[in-house]
Amino acid sequence: MASSSPAGSTKPPSQGPLGLATHPLRPSDIRSDSVEGARSPLDVAAIRRDFPILSRRVHGHRLVYLDNAATTQKPLVVLERLNHYYRSTNANIHRGIHRLAEEATALYEETREHTARFLAATDPRGVVFTSGATGALNLLASSWGHWLRPGDEILLTEMEHHSNLVPWFLVARERGAQVRHIPVTEDGRLDLTRLGELLTERTRIVSLTQVSNVLGTINPIRAIADAAHAVGALVSVDAAQGAPHHAIDVQALGCDALSFSAHKVLGPTGVGVLWVKPDLLERMEPYQGGGEMIREVQMDGATWAEIPHRFEAGTPNIAGVVALGPALDYVERLGYDAIGRHGEAIITYALDRLRGLGGLRILGPTDPTERSGAIAFADPVVHPHDLSTVLDQEGVAIRAGHHCAQPLHRRYGLVATARASFYIYNDRDDVDALVAAIESARRYFG
């Protein structure tokens, strides 16, 4: 995605990530860092300085934040943008004819263009801002749902987050459609041998995750999208876990729609992105009605505004959208190539160390190159909640539970797992702290 980081060299240093602004990534910066074995191409120490929260302490310990699949921490540039926006620009967009409103509208629309470039989309009109990935998927399901007829099928997968399941259940029930799913294999991959029988002329919609929030599995989106298109289905990609770790190119993925959440890519909470092919978006039914999404309203009806505004009823999270800009800048400056290699190195190291503990059941592909972000595991003795409580006392934040993926846990005969998930500011020390805390929990319960 090097082409989509135009901000890199032109913005003043204060606009960029502080750890990198004065010295953009050069080959000389590429060092092994603390991830052993594979070299990390990120200067983790410099990155950590950009995230104020990482210097706080929890129960007297250094914070070891390993809950990035739930939400990532925010760099100073994002916090500053939020602050600056409210201090100097705050206004409603697309409405007021005054200076502040013009500035706010321009910032909001610039972020739309930036987001389109981030997704390698050619037309910013395909970018709809929502409240999150959940908001995006509900919009999509509700709108595509209008096209469903009884007997039509929606194909999902067994590894979906509830927010890519339940919205489809709702429309399926309403339209008399059937939901089917691609099963997962024992080692956490989609069982694509079943695809041929699951995709039929009845399949209208295929919606699947790019990266599993539990297994970490990276799915072969392009191949599935091509197969789906061959039977005439529309393809939606849930990139909530993909966007933080992989350069997104909606053309290369070959999808019709794609969703992600800003807060999982260093941005603020309350902002999501739904990208839809503009010619398709043009034909979609509106989702919510209200201000901003109409062209003209009579007492008994209305005509719709142009896309994408038709899908953005009411006052959106303007400050949040504006602050998504510096978040995208930040990852683009690091570059997805470096982010990907760092992620792979840390997953490799973490898998090694966790396996070294013995006895843990680790979900997902054994090959670290087939996964990113998260590692979910179960200890035969210490329940995930207890593990999470013990780890918390040592400053280590992980998540315990079903991670909004109950069908997947059921598939593996589990009720809950512990999940450690990594991002650009995590290093080998964090993995070591995790492993030491697990050992201490085992002693406690053993």
Partner: protein, 153 residues
Amino acid sequence: MADREDRAHLQLDDLYREVVLDHYRRPRGRQPLSHPSCSVEGFNPSCGDQIHVALTIDGDRVNELQVECRGCSISVASGSMMAEMVPGHDVAEVRRLIEAVKGMMQGKEPDPAVDLADLEALAGVRKFPVRVKCALLAWTTLEEALPGISGPA
């Protein structure tokens, strides 16, 4: 390092008292009942913990109680203590006990008429607010299983 671990464990010792760990390691009352009067499945949607509670009622008295919990140490231990304490008491007494456990989790003054026995060991859960629902899962499920005015018979 040892010091750091000790400090963490001081906090944890409040939560994971030896009695609690003992109930977790050897939960009581798991044997299925041959003729239950009533059985209820409890579920904690936020974390996925599951519990099966079955009982036999003889007149006004809870005669037998089976508790089978798939969950964390706190929910398993709480259910195990429940299985140990409840049989032999009449429904009104059991209701008072349920209220007493809830009250303990909310930090209320204890009811002097109710003997909490091993359950006192769960008092430390209060300091870990996210775990309170683990401690209450067994009891709220039992409440549903009891016959009478508020719960389904």
